[in-house]
């Protein structure tokens, strides 16, 4: 195969077709415009926007991030412009682009998730919804929806019943057995699973004896969490028939390939965008190079090809 022979990167995740498997992760790419000067959005497999709630949210008091060894903690607190402003001011910039737009959403209650899904349904320019279940259920004493399979089922059902868009459920790693919420989401009718969200963490300043984050605890992302993410994606792929989007700590084409090889149909890149805003473009061209080196034509020849000695 020659250097320039065409290779196919297109993937299908149930109802969602992507021209390549490389997306940007929610909360790390704003509403798409912030990096548009550096990243032609149409080259991406998909853009997942910052999590949206029914009403605008202020977020947590600063400091909101802290760099750790190989990662970063954040406690943004789901600050966002709210549904109406998103539809009025953010979506119109994305709508004309030939790139799937995936709206990440979250609520304080099961009902809010349903209302949001209904509010987003039918708007031209939205290609899928991604449900963030890593946030507290106000009616259940602040316990994260994602940590209880029953609540996962309720939230996903609420969204499923109010939208015709493809539904992605984004799992939290802060559970003992990741296959339980995965199963619950599948039973509730999600089309796709994505994982992982950030890993719960904390840091302290020994000089002041104060937490590094205004919210005391936060979520860890970046290269440090990749092995955890890979293991969980692998477990979910073993346990579920749904297409899976893998993310957590991806910074290079090698990282992306690890997720694809274990069976993820697509990947998302989060924290690495901050370090190299063009990392997704590098990963996309790196995947093409890899296929040529391997003498393959189609990325689907790589997906799910992990060789485990038995």
């Amino acid at each position: 195969m020659t250097i320039n022979s065409p290779v196919i990167l297109a993937v299908e995740l149930g109802p969602l077709r992507l021209k390549n498997p490389v997306m940007v992760a929610s909360g790390t790419f704003g509403y798409g415009q912030e990096y548009a000067a550096l990243v032609p959005l149409e080259n991406l497999g998909g853009v997942v926007v910052k999590g949206i709630s029914l009403e605008p949210r202020s977020g947590n008091p600063p400091p909101r991030i802290w760099e750790t060894c190989g990662g970063m903690l954040n406690s943004i607190g789901l600050q966002n412009v709210g549904l109406q402003t998103f539809l009025r001011e953010k979506l119109p910039h994305l709508r004309p682009l030939q790139v799937p737009v995936i709206v990440n959403l979250f609520g304080n209650t099961v009902e809010e998730y349903g209302e949001l899904a209904a509010g987003l349904d039918g708007h031209e320019g939205i290609d899928a919804l991604e449900i963030n279940i890593s946030c507290p259920n106000v009616k259940a004493g602040g316990m994260a929806f994602g940590s209880d399979p029953k609540m996962v089922f309720q939230v996903v059902s609420a969204v499923r019943s109010r939208t015709n868009l493809p539904v992605i459920t984004k799992l939290t790693p802060n559970v003992t057995d990741i296959t339980l919420p995965a199963k619950a989401a599948e039973d509730a009718g999600t089309d796709i699973l994505s994982l992982i969200n950030t890993v719960a963490g904390m840091a302290v300043d020994p000089q002041t004896r104060r937490p590094r984050l205004g919210n005391v605890v936060g979520g860890l992302s970046g290269p440090a969490i990749k092995p955890i993410a890979l293991r969980m994606v692998w477990q979910v792929i073993q346990a579920s028939n749904l297409p899976v989007i893998g993310l957590g700590g991806i910074v290079s084409v090698e990282d992306a390939l690890e997720f694809l090889i274990i069976g993820a149909k697509a990947i998302q890149v989060g924290t690495a965008n901050f370090v190299n805003p063009q990392v997704t473009l590098d990963i996309i061209s790196g995947l093409e190079d890899y296929l040529r080196q391997q003498g393959l034509r189609d990325i689907n020849q790589i997906i799910g090809t992990l060789e485990v000695a038995r």
């Binding site: 990096y35 977020g59 600063p62 909101r64 970063m72 954040n74 600050q79 370090v275």
Partner: protein
């Protein structure tokens, strides 16, 4: 917004803690404004993970064309690593970023205030103001912990600035904090400036904003925050500000996008 490798021209220690870093980056040098900043990726690895924000200290349009200078203080992992970089190496820059200093339509008294490493963005600002045909007077109030913190003083003098120095240990100039000495001095002047430009630690910025409010003049304050992206994508660099009409309360502005230079009246001080 541009992403470029920039060759290191020089990386000179001014003291044990302060370094001048010269970088060749014509694309950013031609467009960056005083008070704007760049996010620096010190090396092509993920350790340290995040880019580091730095202001532009000076531009050198001809020496060689398109070069710029950063003044940095060694405080941790990233800046320590930066000291090991040699001329000929390169770093990766993302910029110009943020909203810099604004220049009200005024050509009188120019007052700059710096605390410690807060001096970093002021030479470029001073050069720009000096070129704006202000009639003056031009004054810099510069505070540090000790005399070693007070770099670039001669440069301001060469630009026609009177430099008023304050050190916490009294090793040079007045003893104490800039904010203790500035207000009594200002009140004795024939006229007040329309605006105070200031860069320094949070408590100093707060005192400057409060003083400016008392004297009914405006203040432009360059603020700091921990930054993830530098471009408004991650919402980590929040600074509590007065909410615009219809916005959620509390309202957090992004220092990287809405700042780093804020009007003192915009900020809600913690």
């Amino acid at each position: 917004m541009i992403l470029r490798n920039a060759q290191i021209l020089f990386n000179k220690p001014m003291s044990t803690e302060l370094y001048h870093l010269g970088l060749l980056c014509p694309d950013i040098a031609v467009s960056i404004q005083p008070g704007q900043f760049v996010m620096v990726r010190i090396r092509d690895s993920f350790d340290p993970l995040l880019r580091r924000p730095f202001a532009i200290h000076r531009l050198y349009p001809n020496d060689p064309p398109g070069s710029l200078e950063i003044l940095y203080k060694v405080v941790g992992k990233g800046t320590r690593l930066l000291t090991t970089m040699q001329p000929g190496n390169s770093v990766n820059l993302l910029g110009p970023l943020g909203r810099g200093f604004r220049f009200p339509n005024d050509n009188g008294f120019v007052l700059l205030v710096a605390g410690g490493i807060g001096i970093a963005p002021l030479p470029y600002l001073a050069e720009t103001l000096a070129a704006h045909k202000h009639k003056g007077p031009f004054v810099l109030w510069f505070g540090g912990k000790t005399s070693g913190d007070l770099v670039c003083v001669q440069h301001f003098k060469d630009l026609g600035f009177a430099v008023e120095i304050v050190t916490e240990d009294g090793s040079i100039g007045r003893k104490g904090l800039v904010t203790e000495h500035l207000e009594p001095w200002l009140i004795q002047q024939d006229e007040l400036p329309k605006v105070i430009y200031s860069c320094g630690p949070y408590p100093m910025q707060r005192s400057i904003a409060e003083m400016a409010a008392r004297l009914r003049i405006s203040s432009q304050l360059s603020m700091e925050a921990l930054m993830g992206c530098g471009v408004g994508a991650c919402l980590s660099c929040s600074l509590r500000c007065r909410p615009p009409q219809g916005a959620a309360d509390p309202h957090y502005a992004n220092v990287c996008q809405n700042g780093p230079v804020f009007d003192g009246e915009e900020i809600i001080w913690e």
